[in-house]
Symmetry: C2
Subunit: 99 residues, 2 copies
């Protein structure tokens, strides 16, 4: 299982609109191949910074199948207008669950 | 509930030692006031990059109580030697769980 973390800086004053856009775009992720979860987290130190946390079965489910799908275009059309810059995307895997 | 994400770059070849140090330091977090969970994740794109993900009841449980405790010193003594640089720490809160 792969966790995608997209760090997204939103425009000043666009937080509520951005959160609503993520909510509206949820079906794009829900029907994506291998997509197992979607959460949105917000930085305490930088309130304009969000982390879109998406769980994928495989890396390719995100980087190949989702990114080349119409649902990716729809997601970006919904949320893109509220982003201050393109998202910075990184993937990680679980190394250890201590407790 | 606050999620601390400490981004930690480890020295080349130090991954196994670093993971063992996190495992050894687990009790430091387990007995910390307000600490509710600890996981270690590893970047796919940058294998020397780890994310220590710690769940705290409040921000101050981490930034005040833990950082001023002997357990913080012990954690750093255990894991510090394998870090290539001081961790970069950020906190976030849940904005939305879509699914």
């Amino acid at each position: 299982m792969i966790l995608e973390i997209a760090t997204i800086e939103v425009k000043d004053g666009a937080s509520a609109d951005f959160e609503a856009a993520v909510r509206a775009a949820t079906p794009c992720f829900q029907r994506a191949r291998g997509c197992k979860g979607l959460a949105l987290r917000r930085s305490v130190e930088q309130p304009n910074r969000y982390f879109l946390v998406v769980t994928w079965e495989t890396l390719e489910d995100h980087t190949v199948h989702f990114r080349n799908s119409p649902d990716f275009q729809e997601w970006r059309q919904l949320a893109g207008p509220f982003m201050a810059a393109p998202p910075s995307v990184e993937h990680n895997t679980l190394a250890l669950t201590a407790f």
